[in-house]
């Protein structure tokens, strides 16, 4: 089977799911497929496999190298973990969507040409949206529609870009590109949408809190990281990415700070973390690309862990809003611990996974002399601590007791969280395992004394600042509210404007038609007046008038004929 690839395994399983009536069996399949895939990916030889000819194009469906392998591995792991976390889910649709989504993401990172990438790109869009709709509320429905539209927008831009690029370069191969032509810009923006570039980001914060408990965990892993992969593959060293990434790291932290829905806080945090990876891609040195890959790897794990823990809270309490929560450590202590591990990881506390990956990117930025960017990343790191490191666990588990006494998360969730948490810690302690998977062979040692010292200072004093703002009451309270983001433009402003001007436009559009209709009606009325049975043209002419006309005609004919002689 030259075509065989892990993605097909997932997709076939997704299709097969529909015919399995036993939900438990489906859950088992959901768990087994990623395990097989993980093994498969680990054993794959580097090189290009599964080449297909289609309509004169050569599709390379399996390009295995360091970069694609590490993403495929973490995607498989993430799929497995979220399957375990979703063990209780009986909803066939979510199960199918999860499998198809994960499979497409894996297929996407193995895509050796842009067309294959595009196909998987679209499948991730279509499959993932069901995880949002699966919530089956009005709000989730419209959020899902928005999500799908934006995802497909990204897809069609990619399609447009790949066609233009193909026209320009004569090649569909998915390799490093340089910005310049319309085609590459289209591809770039397509990646940018899925990667949640600033102002293209709000689908992320809009949709992730809208998905189901388990759906959000799945969502958090694939789409954006696939985009990061695509950027790393397609646009390494594109300088504009450095600045885009820096902005990405910074602006979400402010929103995250005042956001009430903890899952949305995590979505903003996700956006911020993507910024680090984008900066890494933008720097583009082997070290930076390594940093991006490593950070994506770690990030998938700890972000999943955080989403899992908040998901567990939601699962047990029915809400994920900071203003409704607090003090849950009493009855959900294990979830709280896992959440703390996730928080520590994302905050890059030494011995946790974020520390070993983020420092790669910071070092790369430092080495290349991007001092402004470096400062931005530093500030962003403090920001990460503030919203993900402190706010998430604090608001959910520690802050003022909300009075809820939910039961501890179900066992399978605890297992999923536990495994994820231990992976986070393991990577933090033994970074070599992760580093050995990285695409580029660049030696790096995170645990230097200076590094640990500076990081601890940063975190320690930031914690102090936290204590300070708490004591002084400067810390924003958790209140039931939403904060407008740039999606205000298309969710509020534009609809309002359209509603306002549409009557005018309607009138304007209908005017020419009305005029035309009037003119036609008028002229037909005139014609009708002449032509109806009593009209001049149609009534039986009297002999007098007939003869008169005859005379006139005769005269005219004579004049005409003699005029020429």
């Amino acid at each position: 089977m030259t075509l065989a690839q892990p993605a097909f395994l997932f997709l076939a399983a997704a299709a097969g799911c529909a015919f399995i009536r036993n939900a438990k069996l489906r859950a088992l399949l959901l768990l087994a497929v990623p395990c097989i895939s993980l093994l498969w990916v680990a054993l794959l030889d580097s090189g290009t496999h599964a080449t297909v000819q289609y309509a004169g194009l050569t599709l390379e469906m399996m390009r295995v190298d360091g970069l694609s392998r590490i993403f495929a591995i973490i995607f498989s792991i993430a799929a497995g973990l979220s399957a375990l976390y979703a063990w209780h889910v009986r909803d066939l649709m979510q199960q199918i969507a999860t499998l198809a989504y994960a499979g497409a993401a894996i297929g996407g990172v193995f895509a050796g040409d842009l067309l294959t990438l595009f196909l998987y790109w679209e499948v991730t869009a279509v499959a993932s949206v069901f995880l949002i709709w699966a919530r089956r509320t009005h709000g989730a429905f419209s959020t899902g529609m928005r999500y799908l539209l934006i995802q497909v927008l990204s897809g069609v831009l990619l399609l447009m870009g790949l066609l233009l690029h193909y026209q320009d370069s004569g090649s569909m191969a998915f390799t490093s590109m340089t910005l310049g032509s319309i085609g590459t810009w289209c591809i770039f923006i397509a990646f940018g949408i899925k990667c949640a570039f600033p102002l293209l980001h709000n689908w992320l914060q809009d949709s992730y809190p809208a998905a189901t408990v388990t759906g959000t965990v799945v969502l958090s892993a694939f789409t954006t990281k696939m985009a990061v992969y695509a950027l790393a593959r397609g646009f390494p060293g594109t300088e504009i990415l450095v600045y885009i990434g820096a902005v990405m790291t910074l602006f979400p932290i402010f929103f995250a700070e005042i956001e009430n829905d903890l899952r949305r806080v995590l979505a903003y945090s996700l956006n911020n973390q993507l910024g680090f990876m984008v900066v890494g891609v933008g720097i583009g040195t082997p070290l930076a690309i390594n940093g991006t890959a490593a950070h994506a790897f770690c990030h998938i794990l700890y972000k999943a862990l955080l989403f899992m823990s908040i998901g567990a809270v939601l699962f047990r309490t029915g809400t994920s809003k900071a203003s409704e929560l607090g003090g849950l450590y009493r009855t959900m202590p294990k979830t709280a611990i896992f959440c703390l591990i996730g928080a520590a990881s994302i905050s890059a506390v030494p011995l946790f996974s974020g520390f070993v990956s983020k420092s790669l990117i910071l070092s790369a930025a430092g080495k290349e002399g991007y001092w402004l960017i470096w400062i931005a990343l530093l500030i962003a790191s403090a920001g990460v601590l503030s919203h993900s490191g402190i706010k998430i666990p604090y608001a959910a588990f520690f802050a003022k007791d909300c009075g809820k006494r939910p039961a501890e998360a179900p066992r399978h969730m605890l297992w999923a969280m536990g495994i994820t948490a231990s992976l986070c810690v393991l990577i933090g302690i033994f970074p070599g395992v992760l580093y050995s998977l990285l695409p580029n062979d660049v030696p790096y040692h995170p645990y230097t004394f200076g590094h640990i010292l500076t990081q601890l200072q940063l975190l320690g004093f930031a914690l102090l600042a936290f204590v300070f703002v708490m004591k002084t009451g400067l810390h924003p309270h958790e209140i039931r509210a939403v904060n407008v983001d740039s999606d205000w433009i298309y969710r509020k402003f534009l609809p309002k404007q359209i509603k306002r001007i549409s009557p005018t436009i309607g009138i304007l559009v209908s005017l020419p038609g009305k005029w035309l209709a009037n003119a036609v009606a008028h002229s037909t009325a005139q014609l009708a007046k002449l032509s109806e049975p009593r009209g001049v043209l149609a009534r039986g002419w009297s002999i007098n008038s007939m003869v008169f006309i005859l005379t006139v005609v005769m005269g005219l004919v004579l004049i005409f004929n003699f005029g020429k002689v």
Partner: protein, 138 residues
């Protein structure tokens, strides 16, 4: 599935200090000392650095504190600008509506709540569950 009450070990005990102002104050004090120690080490230890400014003494400490405090304060100001009520976009947005309960397993077992300040919570909890049930019928 409700977790069993007769567990061999209760992790919640790890965190009980959070609700005890005295112990919290003790933790804060420890943090202060920890930071002070770090700061002192930083003064003594010559770090490898990429940039000149990075090398200045206490750079990380100050930037950590200032960045954190700045972010929090600025965010507070930002909120005044962009805060809206929950169903601002639409009454049917996810922010306004309840999570459909059928996918959840909301369990609120009060008998396990050794740490409860019992006077207030029962009423709140029962109200919220009642509310949830209504929401489920929609």
């Amino acid at each position: 599935m409700p977790s069993k009450s007769n567990k061999p070990y209760d992790f919640a005990a790890w965190f009980t200090w959070v609700d005890n102002p005295v112990r919290v104050r003790r933790v804060v004090r420890a943090l202060l000392i920890f930071c002070a120690v770090l700061f002192v080490i930083d003064l003594l230890y010559h770090r490898h650095a990429y940039f000149g400014f990075e090398q200045s003494r206490g750079f990380y400490a100050i930037s950590g504190f200032v960045a954190f405090a700045g972010i929090v304060i600025l965010a507070g100001q930002l909120r005044r600008l962009i805060r809206r009520e929950e169903n601002y976009y639409s009454p049917e947005s996810i922010d306004g509506e309840k999570y459909p309960p059928n996918e959840l397993s909301i369990i609120d077992n009060k008998q396990r709540s050794e740490f409860t300040d019992s006077q207030q919570n029962e009423s709140i909890t029962s109200r919220s569950t009642a509310h949830m049930d209504q929401g489920g019928d929609k």
